[in-house]
Symmetry: C2
Subunit: 335 residues, 2 copies
């Protein structure tokens, strides 16, 4: 006997059967039964709003677990909110399918969204669904709250500031390389746990949700890194009219990434130029550094000093002896 | 000599060369140079937020004028805001192209968005751009302002209320039928001006932007009609736990639609079940009707009484003598 997968039939069952539970008790979501959502920021607060899409075959693989796809769709948006110092609050989602998804796929997708909602602290409040040709595509608009006037911008880095990054860099790009290729993982000397760590960082990015209070209080500029450390740092300094010098030896690496560095000559370029880190890159005045590190450590977030903002422009990468390092900058361009 | 069209090259030139001017002087758009936008509603106000996508080959034709596509992408979102009683304020836009657009296409698209921005009173404040397979797709998240507590909902129609619609119904669905088919238009008895009126309503929907104050003050429920009058009315009464009786002779028609009604037997079904009207459908207590009509007339909006909310459920359509009319309900389902 062959069991055929059962598809979700109709927009109403997709919304009320699968998506409405994600709106929980959020008043302004109206159980996803209205045409629009309602958000009322508390007095003295502003909304930080970001919009990012992920598409099958471009940002994720068609055979990725639907729960991982749901998690990632939300996490890449939350990453922008976190890097601005905002507390995630609510999101809208536009879903496009070339054909109706199976019930199993939708259940998994919604489960991954629910996990991400719980981890990051926000709820679904609206959106739309469409059938159209092309890849499965999930477009999310996420909103976070900040005290008015306290959003961290990317254009405000100042000469002399310390450049920092949260967590570790490069795991996701390395994870993408070994996703589904256990042979490559072995040639890199990775055991199963290390490989799973790297792949997990690609499939389920975890923006450092606790960093907000420290950013708002101390950061002179901040952004998330999604297109590669060097490329995104280049954008920050260009937008701020300054330059950066960072030391490659200071870049924080996971145990698994350190293993790859020993055996794979291209590992450093992958780590510096690869994407999907979803960590926070920012700048802090020298005098605020110790207080910033202590504040974010209290919230469970580690940050590492990479280098210094300098006058001029561009990103200079040096080794431990101060010698220049050329980086192969093939970071992802969205367009 | 053949002049080749020149494509837009790179995400940075797409954003800074074409889109950034649409952000005007909106402070929280940061010139589209940051990762997120910032919105601070005035004290006592809430944000009404909606999200709708349009895709080539589904919601518009690949050879539609790019200016019309830009207008429509924004107008279908503004329609939801207007029907909730909100003043359009700002929007984010996610653009997906399978290949880089030509400079001419982008210039036209941006010009159409700029016209719609000026007509509806909102600005671009953020979004993202992607290259991916599949049709050109424009996903917009639009935000409007309402005094807190005054958003019109769709679930709150009450037995005895008058059912109204703004403007005229069916023009857009008829316009879709004669788009590019001038022969059909002639067989329907339409002159060039009438045909252009109908096609124009399809290409450039104009939500009744002046209706907001009247809705907020008097409407017991409201929504926009985008998927067909009868289908959307059915959704409103289902969500409100009531029924509706409307008279088909009361449905407001344009001069062009009246011409088609004389010669095309299917015209009535097209008008009742066709989509893309982007007018407001709502309910008003009997005692408030005259004041509502006067208020919206002052703002340049005409509204027409279609019938009455009744107990029970479903939508009953009757003719001038009270006889039941069966409607062929093939209104658009998004999914």
């Amino acid at each position: 006997m062959i069991l055929r997968p059962t598809n979700v039939v109709g927009e109403a069952s997709l919304i009320q059967g699968y998506l409405a539970p994600l709106s929980g008790g959020y008043f302004g979501a109206f159980g996803l039964k209205d045409d629009a959502a309602l958000v009322t920021p508390p007095p003295g607060h502003s909304l930080v709003i970001t919009m990012d899409a992920i598409a099958s075959g471009v940002h994720f693989f068609p055979d990725d677990e639907p729960a991982d796809i749901g998690w990632k769709a939300l996490a890449v948006n939350v990453s922008d909110l976190v890097a601005k110092g905002a507390s995630p609050h609510a999101y809208l989602m536009s879903l496009a399918f070339p054909q109706p998804p199976t019930q199993a796929w939708m259940s998994g997708f919604v489960a991954g969204l629910a996990e991400a909602q719980a981890a990051f602290g926000l709820q679904l409040i609206g959106g739309d669904t469409d059938r159209r040709p092309g890849p499965v595509c999930i477009t999310i608009t996420a909103m976070g709250l900040v005290a008015t006037g306290s959003m961290c911008q990317r254009t405000t880095a100042r000469v002399g500031d310390i450049i920092f990054v949260s967590g570790t860099v490069g795991d996701s790009a390395l994870g993408l390389k070994v996703r589904g290729h256990s042979t490559d993982a072995k040639s890199w000397g990775l055991d199963d746990v290390q490989r799973a760590h790297l792949v997990g960082r690609y499939l389920r990015p975890r923006p450092p949700i606790g960093i907000g209070a420290g950013l708002v209080r101390y950061a002179s500029a901040a952004m998330d890194i999604s297109d590669g450390l060097i490329k995104d740092l280049g954008r920050m300094v260009a937008a701020s009219g300054v330059g950066a010098t960072i030391c490659v030896d200071k870049i924080p690496l996971s145990a698994a990434a350190l293993v790859v560095m020993r055996l794979e000559p291209k590992a450093r370029d992958i780590i510096l130029a690869g994407g999907d880190d979803y960590e926070v890159l920012g700048t802090i005045a020298q005098t605020d550094w110790d207080a910033f590190v202590a504040t974010v450590a209290n919230a469970g977030v580690s940050v590492t000093r990479l280098g210094t903002i300098v006058s001029g422009g561009g990103v200079r990468v040096v080794d431990g002896e101060g010698g220049d390092i050329l980086v192969n900058l093939d970071g992802y361009d969205h367009f």
